[in-house]
Amino acid sequence: MFRTTPTRLARVLALAGVAAAVTGCSVIDSFYPPKAATAQGHDIRNLYDIVFLIAAAIFFVVEGLIVYAVIRYRRHPTDTELPPQIHGNNLIEIIWTIIPTVIVAYLFVISWQTLNTVEATSPNPQVHVVAIARRFDWSFQYLGPDGQSLIRGPDGKAVSLPGTMVVPAGQTVHLSLHSPDVIHAFYVPQFLFKRDVVPGKENTFDFMVDATDAGQTFRGQCAELCGIGHQGMSFEVQAKTPTEFDAWLQQQITQAKATPAPAASGAPSPSGSPGASSVTASGPPSAQVTLDLTAKNVAFDKDSLEAPANQPFDIKFTNADQATQHNVDIHKDSPTGAVVFDGEVITGPDSRLYAVNPLPAGKYSFVCKVHPTTMIGTLTVR
């Protein structure tokens, strides 16, 4: 009986192997991270592949020994004598202390080597980007050609891209991370990399997106719990060819100098420009219609509103999120259309009565400019 069981096991294992081969590569792929998109990511992926191979080998050997012992050494009704009472063997102990020591020493050395290449910084990176992670959004600012000063608009504010970082593919980007509030983490799965954004401390690193990935967009998101809006704190990395990137950056610089408000680029400025538009954000209610809108858990409580055409109306806006900034902007048509109303940004818990000037009938969007990718709704004026 003991002799046949392992054979039967072998047959089952062979069947399982065939089944695995049929379900194919997708299962095996799921044991690996996504294809790396940066030079540093490729190094990390190579290290992962080695660690994975060794881990899989140890797993199958030890798990196999356990399964073998369970099948081979099960107690049989005829077992009346005690099995041999083996207390140990010093030579074996020494062997199985040395073997894992050698394996982990090897793993340590190769991971240290990879660490050095991943952490290496270039003395003159082509682009300097400053990432600002704030509850619960990202904005990206660029240093000018001198590598020192931020690109600024005429009002002295740095030009700031909400939620999207544009980088040249095939060139070294030096990113520095800043947080004005709590700890966040910059994480792009396809970079196989993350780094914490720690308030009171500047973390920096270099990365280079593969030249072949120009035109690609990579999803990233905050990886360190930062509060109720953590799950929506995402961003994108757009890779352009260096020529496209230079043109794009030049355009940002000229735009910043020429345009009084960042609305033309569809990019709301960062917080701190309360009442920038001609609309007053407070004052006696002069309108007949008042719409209620509440922001809670970094979401609006309504995804559509209706207002009368060609007459003033009010929005009673409540921000119920503790220590979190929200506002209401109204855009023509889509959430990235022209701004027709810019409400004061308030920190919850708080509320405001926004007085909105008459709007012609049509389709509008209301957006929280602090969270332009997640807090969006439609406003129908008729």
Partner: protein, 540 residues
């Protein structure tokens, strides 16, 4: 004095609430620990079901982020501080004095005090749910998120609850160390101690050295929040990374506090059900001490992505700790070899521990390789890893111990069929829940998110994990039913139902107050085996 003649004046287990509240008997206190911990286990399990229900599909269905963040924070905190650590302390409380032939713990009243601080701390923490929200910063309570500006009263209750629970641990550790060093029966030298006692000894040293650090960090946090301290908040000149250093200086050794006693239990159970001695007893002792010592030099591997730690040192120490752990694994496997394995429920759970803890050890090595950790840190990979260690390891070990010592505690055996159903459901459910999390982490799903995009491709694996979670919950039903029927009608256990090796099986089930009428001679680490077989088997 090799023998003690004590005739119990009162029955072993007086019923009556008053007796349970005032008892200083280590066995009753041990049972109180176990029951209290299981109650918190079920509560924290319900919180986890809430988490899994929310994550089953993209979008918010059941819990908005404000509540969701409380769910996983309290799940983690309660599972660690009110279930795993205390239930292992509970087993140690019950078993250690018996295994060393002592009448009780060294300080019985302090023992009772240590226990009663636990429910108090737990209730305080749960009060948060009724005072505007429990703690919601994750069980790690990172500052500045845990500061007054970002979190409510729940965090104060969380901190105070943990200070109480920490104090309970420290008192317990002093008690265990004194008991083990001063109250061993004649003949029970250090190298004849059961492995469980060794693991409790090393665990107590860890608790004694690490817990005060955490307790003082919690007091600093409380001062920051309530009295304008400036310890951990950069906005007021504090240092956010300082919290992480002191937190992990405790919380990494705490992982060994949660795993070592479970390893000890498995090291008791495997030899009994293999009918062989533990392979490499001394190697085991040295490996346990080695894990304890190295355990203090690896805390910053939780902080590789902060940009604030010396990476190569903590990477090397983290890799090295795999060596003593590996030695233990090989010794367990060697214990099985050439044995006569009996698959009673305690043995099944012990084998579950071996197979699952192995995965928890291997997937931990990925994070020791710093650059790989840059990819995996704070993703679901880490959630998978920690559950393979703490659930696949500690919880499987804990259930092995529960099925093993239940007959000693109650005088009745648990039903084997229900026990096997429990094991199979839990084993399958556990792997369904946590194995897919490896893939989710590799795909880039961060931990501690209430929602994810349907476009991310994470939906199927999350649904699978949720199904697994509810399977684990289902496996508790046959277990509870088993306990209920066995307490009333279970088969009487007798003194030694398993043909075991250690002293607790030399007295009645349940043992009388002060434990022993008579102690057998102790000439090896298996006094009861010697009693049954003479010294026949002890040299091979």
């Amino acid at each position: 004095m090799a023998t003690t003649a004590l005739h119990p004046a009162v029955p072993a287990y007086r019923s009556g609430l008053y007796e349970w509240i005032t008892t200083t008997d280590h066995k009753k206190i041990g049972i109180l620990y176990v029951v209290n911990s299981l109650l918190f286990f079920f509560l924290a399990g319900l919180l986890a079901l809430g988490v899994r229900a929310e994550l089953a599909q993209p979008k918010i269905q059941f819990f908005a982020p404000d509540v969701y963040n409380q769910l996983f924070t309290m799940h983690g905190t309660v599972m660690i501080f009110l279930f795993i650590i205390p239930i292992l302390a509970g087993f140690a409380n019950y078993v250690v004095p018996l295994q060393i032939g002592a009448p009780d713990m060294a300080f019985p009243r302090i023992n009772a005090l240590s226990f009663w601080m636990l429910p108090l701390g737990g209730i305080l923490m749960f009060t948060g749910f009724f005072t505007g929200g429990a703690a919601a910063e994750g069980w790690t309570g990172y500052s500045p998120l845990a500061q007054r500006a970002y979190s409510g009263t729940g965090t104060d209750l969380w901190a105070v609850g943990l200070i109480l629970i920490g104090t309970s641990s420290i008192l317990g550790a002093v008690n265990f160390l004194t008991t083990i060093f001063k109250m061993r029966a004649p003949g029970l030298t250090m190298f004849r101690l059961p492995i469980l006692v060794w693991t409790v000894l090393v665990t107590s040293v860890l608790v004694l050295m690490a817990t005060p650090v955490f307790t003082s960090a919690l007091i600093m946090l409380f001062i920051d929040r309530n009295y304008g301290g400036h310890f951990f908040d950069p906005a007021t000149g504090g240092n956010a990374i300082l919290w992480q250093n002191v937190f992990w200086f405790y919380s990494h050794p705490a992982v060994y506090v949660m795993v070592l006693p479970a390893m000890g239990m498995v090291s008791e159970i495997l030899p009994v059900f293999s009918r062989k001695p533990l392979f490499g007893y001394k190697a085991f002792v040295f490996a346990t001490a080695g894990i304890g010592a190295l355990g203090f030099s690896v805390w910053a591997h939780h902080m590789f992505t902060t940009g604030s730690v010396f990476l190569p040192f903590f990477s090397l120490m983290t890799f090295l700790i795999a060596v003593p752990t590996g030695v233990k694994m090989f010794n367990w496997v060697a214990t099985l070899f050439r044995g006569q394995l009996i698959f009673s429920t305690p043995m099944l759970f012990a084998l579950g521990f071996l197979t699952m803890f192995l995965i928890g050890g291997i997937n931990g090595a990925f994070s020791a390789a710093v650059p790989v950790d840059f990819a995996l840190h704070d993703t679901y990979w880490v959630v998978a890893h920690l559950h393979y260690v703490l659930f696949g390891g500690s919880v499987f070990g804990m259930f092995a111990g529960l099925y093993y010592w239940f007959p000693k505690m109650t005088g009745r055996l648990l039903d084997e069929t229900l026990g096997k159903i429990h094991f199979v459901l839990m084993f399958v459910g556990f792997n369904l829940t946590f194995f897919p999390m490896h893939m989710l982490g590799l795909m880039g799903m961060p931990r501690r998110v209430a929602d994810y995009s349907a476009a991310a491709g994470w939906s199927e694996l999350n649904l699978l994990a949720t199904i697994g979670g509810f399977t684990i919950a289902t496996s508790m039903l046959p277990f509870l039913w088993n306990v209920m029927i066995s307490l009333r009608n279970g088969e009487p256990a007798g003194d030694d139902p398993w043909e075991a090796n250690t002293l607790e099986w030399a007295t009645s089930s349940p043992p009388p107050p002060y434990n022993f009428d008579h102690l057998p001679e102790i000439r090896s680490e298996r006094p009861l085996f010697d009693l049954r077989h003479g010294r026949a088997g002890n040299h091979a």
